[in-house]
């Protein structure tokens, strides 16, 4: 794949992950390890935080 990626730390597992280089602050991506939604909190240097989980709402 030709698209540029950068390497950063997964906030949950602490492992190295690759994410697209063109992400912007505030964007939500998913971790390739945990699948969790991560918010891009800064880009230079790149930093990610767990995004608040979207509730499934399956009634009661």
């Amino acid at each position: 794949m030709t698209e540029d990626t950068i390497t950063t730390e997964d906030p949950i597992t602490g492992e190295e992950i690759e994410i697209p280089a063109d992400v912007e602050v505030g964007e939500i991506i998913d971790s390739p390890i945990t699948g969790a939604e991560l918010e891009v909190v800064s880009v230079d240097p790149i930093a990610l935080e767990e995004a608040p989980e979207l509730e499934e709402d399956w009634g009661e």
Binding site: D57, W58, E60
Partner: protein, 347 residues
């Protein structure tokens, strides 16, 4: 001469609202005079609920409530607390199917929900489940119909508390399997047929709000997890409990018979022969019956308790009608006689 009560259903275009229409339409002592829906105003109820094509009634605006004897609120959590004054103005007896009036205290709503608008009314409300609260229902003016999963779990476990097999300190695992109608008529991508069919899908695996309700009525915390499975109607709870003192199968029969022998809507199904040896949701689909049963596991010091209901019936609309019958002094089983079907596929 038969008495006849006028009834309204608010939120009648939804799943539990439609079920209420069906039940009340066939109820010997009730006339449905209003069915509300904002989205389907002026359409026939049959345009949404194909089984009610024969019913001559159109949806109307929930802001214009008619004066009736009994009003059933089938709206999402939060709506009833907002609209409760207009409901009570319209009807002397209000049965709310949402979670809004199930818990006793504002503190519980703060912990489990996002607070409560009208906490002062919580004390007035009676929990609908007759097997738990029959004596307080006659004449009740505000009735809170139970949650479907909570109802299944409570009915399964109650005899063990009644008979002191459990005392409240034990760890209890409640593993629930539910059908897609639990989510109501809305439904996003996760509820679409290609994604939802054939699943065994954990949802709300921890922190489910029905834990609060179970705790409130059984006096014990439970470890609750729900799984969506491929049926439309039905909720089945398997409870794994470890009593402090050993019990026998005979003791369990005594406990369950003691709690339920006289109950018109609870069947004890435990062992026996043939295909249906334990409670199963499809055996009660469309009916107001709950099936409860148990099996002893001496090797592990465990009792496995099974409980099965139709979430649209015993788990919501049927329970609501049952409670209204008791509240209004009618025959308990009026309008709830349907026995269920055999065979039936995945109702």
């Amino acid at each position: 001469m038969t008495e006849s009560y006028a009834a309204s259903v608010v939120g009648a275009s939804g799943f539990t609202g439609g079920e209420l229409l069906r039940l009340l339409y066939g109820h010997p002592n009730v006339d449905v005079v209003q069915a509300t829906s904002r989205s389907y105003e002026n359409k026939t109820v049959g345009s949404v609920h194909p089984n009610l094509r024969g019913m001559d009634l159109r949806f109307s605006d929930p802001d214009d409530l008619e004066s009736v004897d009994v009003l059933f609120a089938c709206t999402p959590h939060g709506v009833s607390m907002e609209r409760i004054d207009s409901f009570r103005e319209a009807a002397g007896t209000v049965v709310d199917l949402s979670a809004d009036f199930r818990l006793d205290t504002e503190a519980e709503y703060d912990e489990w929900y996002d607070g409560h608008d009208r906490p002062e009314l919580l004390a007035d409300a009676e929990y609908a489940l007759p097997e738990l609260n029959r004596e307080n229902l006659p004449g009740a003016e505000l009735i809170a119909s139970g949650g479907c999963n909570a109802t299944a779990a409570i009915l399964g476990l109650k005899p063990l508390f009644d008979a002191d097999v459990l005392s409240g300190g034990e760890r209890i695992v409640v593993d629930v399997k539910v059908g897609s109608s639990e989510g109501g008529a809305g439904g996003g991508e996760a509820s679409s047929h290609p994604e939802r069919s054939g699943v065994v899908r954990p949802y709300a695996p921890t922190g489910h709000r029905h834990e609060a309700e179970i705790e409130a009525f059984l006096g014990t915390g439970v470890s609750f997890s729900a799984h969506a499975v491929d049926m439309t109607r039905g909720a089945s709870a398997t409870c794994h409990v470890y009593p402090d003192d050993p019990v026998s199968t005979g003791d369990l029969w005594t406990a369950y018979r003691g709690s339920y022998a006289e109950e018109p809507f609870v069947r004890i199904v435990s062992g026996g022969s043939g295909v249906y040896r334990y409670p199963e949701p499809k055996a009660v689909a469309g009916s107001n019956h709950a099936e409860v049963g148990f099996e002893l596991d001496p090797r592990n010091g465990r009792i496995v308790v099974f409980s099965a209901i139709d979430n649209m019936m015993k788990g919501s609309a049927g329970q609501a009608v049952h409670a209204a019958n008791v509240a209004l002094g009618l025959e308990e089983t009026a309008g709830l006689e349907f026995a269920g079907l055999h065979p039936v596929g995945a109702p």
